[in-house]
Subunit: 250 residues, 6 copies
């Protein structure tokens, strides 16, 4: 049995608290088991240089952990003077994943900045960040719609992410906590949308490798988890796929 008594295909408990910080256009505290991430979405009225003049927007993400989000204190990247490889991988992944479900040509030349700050870590911080960031981004789009900046929510699908892995004792498992993650042979992060399509698959077997059958089982677990995560998103932000600016007559 898994350390916290879960079944192999069982997610940890999820809370998505909206309006967590008062200043951002969209703000969420997502809690997945003991993992807690503040996800803030900000709207900036310009795009980075490489996007200028294309009449499209951009979405970019930054990710960080507080020094004591982890059992041992980790040094701040600002004190090191540079951002590590793991952080860069994660923030590129979050940005890419969110862009896959947004019609960038419907938001004007604006940048959506996503800030994911892990205040407490117990495994799965990057996937919790994606799920939380999706909700924060949608809240920011609702605010932009209220302000009259956009006509409708420019999102064509829900998006969520989870981890799966092959553990030497428990076998194939869904939503790994840190204790599981650190003893797992194969580790896979999967991002999917509400159409059941893949957005990202990142599977790694540093200590081991995996076969076709194992890949199929991992994907099955991930799909189950992502379905439940998207249900949790809907209970918080409602049906966004048809939402429009009130009274626009469209």
């Amino acid at each position: 049995m898994r350390p916290d008594g879960r079944k192999n295909d069982e997610l940890r408990s999820i809370q998505i608290q909206t309006g967590y910080i008062i200043h951002p256009e969209g703000s969420v505290l997502i809690t997945v088991g003991q993992t807690k991430v503040i996800c803030n979405a900000s709207i900036e009225d310009r795009v980075p240089p490489f996007m200028r003049g294309q009449k499209k927007g951009w979405i970019t993400a930054e990710y960080s952990m507080l020094p004591r989000a982890t059992p041992e204190r980790t040094m701040r990247e600002s004190a090191r003077g540079k951002i590590g490889g793991r952080t860069m991988e994660i923030q590129r992944l979050i940005g890419r994943a969110l862009r896959s479900v947004v019609a960038l040509d419907q938001i004007g030349e604006r940048t959506i900045w996503i800030d994911c700050d892990v205040i407490q870590a117990d495994g799965g911080t990057r996937t919790a960040s994606i799920t939380g960031a999706f909700v924060a981004m949608v809240l920011a789009f609702k605010k932009a719609m209220d302000r009259g900046q956009i006509e409708k929510i420019p999102v064509h699908s829900y998006l969520a992410a989870t981890s799966v892995g092959i553990h030497p004792v428990y076998g194939s498992i869904l939503d790994l906590c840190y204790k599981e993650d650190s003893t797992t042979d194969v580790d896979m992060n999967i991002v999917m949308n509400s159409k059941g399509h893949f957005v990202e698959i990142q599977g790694t077997g540093e200590e081991a490798t995996f076969s076709d059958e194992e890949l199929a089982e991992l994907i099955r677990l991930a799909k189950k988890g992502i379905g439940e995560l998207i249900a949790a998103e809907k209970s918080v932000i409602g049906d966004i796929l048809t939402e429009q600016k009130v009274g626009t007559g469209k």
Copy 2:
């Protein structure tokens, strides 16, 4: 009248939530009005090179703001690749203030790391950090006493901090929110201990200057506020000045 209806000598409402993050030896979320700071205290079993071999401990602090702690998003210092002057001033101040009330020779060759992360800012983040960090540090010392690392809480006084200022409309005021702070002529941060002594006075009049009489009035306000802050600390951590390891017979 002040923007939030307070009297000139009135603090904002204060909450000090202990055990906020599960990993650190001491963890606090301090809320002062709309300002919210996570203060974590970590114990490391060694001291920095310049302190080695002196049979004394050290206390050092780091301070940071989430990008959207503020109304406008601010760039991360990790992304800039260096820590700004304001951050350095604040983290040096926090460390110095905490060291003034601790008997460093009673904690062995250990470092207490203080991490103050502002998740929401509305003025007074450095003084809220000092007050919150003091409580987090005491909690860490209690944990160290439980673990048998130290015999008693090595703290000889409570410590708290607040801001005072001279406002062109409201006059001399206590505990400035951001709106007041950004329109104030003279701004002063005061750190005091529970013996009524000063630990730090940092008064600045960039747009104006101040007289002896104004200085005296600002100090009077600060003393009132700090008295109330120390009362709030006591309600959370109790009477620590006599606390000892249970059963040591000392």
Copy 3:
């Protein structure tokens, strides 16, 4: 038809030139179509701090492109003063992939440094780097065996990598050149070993997403390509899985 006339499941032509640079323990120039990467493997007689005292070795990789490996000149990362996110992702991937096929406890406390320097780029530089680096690493192990540092080649499987993708015009294709890569909706890098197991799957659909069926087809193409790449490796380095130090009697 694809720009260079290949069939959808056809690799570009491959050359693996060994002994390319005289100084490294293992050195290879790998050519995949127009992509050319110098892969050097160096043996250092110590491990990084986090590995010390474990009686195991370590493998780490660095990746770089010459400024004019690309059609437009790109600025050097040494001139920028920092290594970009893409580079970090790739060097972490190369290191992880190589470690998956090596018995680190058979090489002593040594580090194998892998340097992949792209001198000419036409798509697929990271997968060419993995394939070339595997050969360079094996050559370094042969040298270490000659020197009596190790008893046998500590590699339990061949390793190779390729890219696959879904192109709006050509459909599912193997081994993308730059022209294809820059116009592809879904892009996937796959690393496999000679047992037919996955080491890494990194699939991304920034402009699009992909279904279960499409994933299955991409994996089929990758397996075909990797089989051919491993055959090319064998023609250069022979049967390494049973190779031992001559005359050790083991």
Copy 4:
């Protein structure tokens, strides 16, 4: 008695040599006892980005010590690749203090750069820098008036700074040399203008704290010292508060 035989309320000897370096608009070598600082003021015909379009000027300061200004050689900040916290605090303080006595709206969109380079240190380098920088800045304004860039000296008060402290042996003392500073319990830097108003108070009691009475005594000492420093400034730069461009008829 104090190490150099001074009375507790006695400044060290002061020289202010003007025109020290030939290139800057204003240049001063200030000597306070054994402390020597080159203070140069430069006029640049533009303001930093955050000040543009406001029809006002800006004053900014940089501070540095030669490696052997101190008894032990200290590493250059250029060699470290970053500016330390102490340096940043000091340069922010110098800039803030100078801006408090200048009518920034009378200098056009210009920046006054103040460079304080300590060539020999014996305590009180930051306060000597402020006093010297004030004179260098006034000299630069005189040059600007000669050039017809401004109509009159845009300074509404003289400015000077000194340190005071509470020493375990000597008690409350004025203008600490290094030997005193390094053994002092409470250390305070005070900046005042010629109207007898405070511009900055920075009091710190790392090893000790201080009472209301002690604060009052320190302020009394500082006022005496600053009065004498301002007299020294006047003997060098004359009565600047009424100085105007000759023959403008205004």
Copy 5:
């Protein structure tokens, strides 16, 4: 006798392979004995800020060594986060040398970027870089002439470089390999043009000094070597001093 059997006034064997990399406007692999340098020349249609508006072009160079160009692996400068002093000296030297033979006012407001990447080092990498870079630059100018960007090759002289030195055993020698260079007392790099004039002389005697007579002998050797290097250049790029755009009628 010298380690590789050469006479004291004998160059190592030289190959200059043109068109080595497909993307740059000019590309050369120069081989001098065991030293191999990829020299690429790129044309950018703008000049650096300090050259703007002068209707002239600019030539700038960058130099780097692969980590295993050397017998021991050297750390990448991108990983260090800064470019070392030796690299800076070399790239400033290469740029200066090339600019001495080019009519910058004949190339418009364009920058010629020279990238010298040493893939294998055995002494003399900076002088091989200059010789190879000259050829790559001329090839780029030929491409620019083909594109109609310039009317004729804006080069008024050939340019080449070599090293000479005084060895404690062999005496005065030409074109030092690494083994010689590392045991030499006096080391001199000389850059000359085809008119027999000096462009740069950089002579250094860290372990020894040298007399007028020794200087004269070193210069004699260098002249002989540079004559042969320029002959090698001519055999590759032909007579460039009269070359013009075909059919321009000028």
Copy 6:
């Protein structure tokens, strides 16, 4: 005639003020015309890692200019966060030159740190730095002899440096001021010792080139100037080549 009325083979006026800063083991203010450099020599009782265990000492130099040493303010390298190429070239040159006249095996495992800080620049700062640094170093050795750290001055020759150049109007000239330097075609820095041998020759003709005859004339001028500079050194530090620890009986 030259701008300051000098003859072509005439040095500017030279002052070498010893004991300029009180803390360093050796300290000099050297003035060459309007160029002023503080040269400090410090003795550290250890060597850098690459020299350990060789029972020899090391000499290293750092060079910097105050921002307003120049007519236009230049940005500090500490503020840029990195040391420029020109600075690196100069500090490497100074260190190399000094090491050429010192018996490193007579100073024990000690490092001599040379700090050359240009407080006012008018051309020739690097050569003035070498001449001044030589005197400061000798003063530090005298101090070390007084302290009993060494038996005699470990210097086997005097050392000085100057610049020469070919000017389009004045012809071949000695000791260029800034006005001359910035309009000169060929610029050469020459370092020589008191035996009349060359230590360094660095000749550059960016805008022009130079012939054998011109080289000979430049060397003749440099020799004359260096002879006078060494005479000035002798008048300040006396005959050091035979100086020994008093009463050692050796």
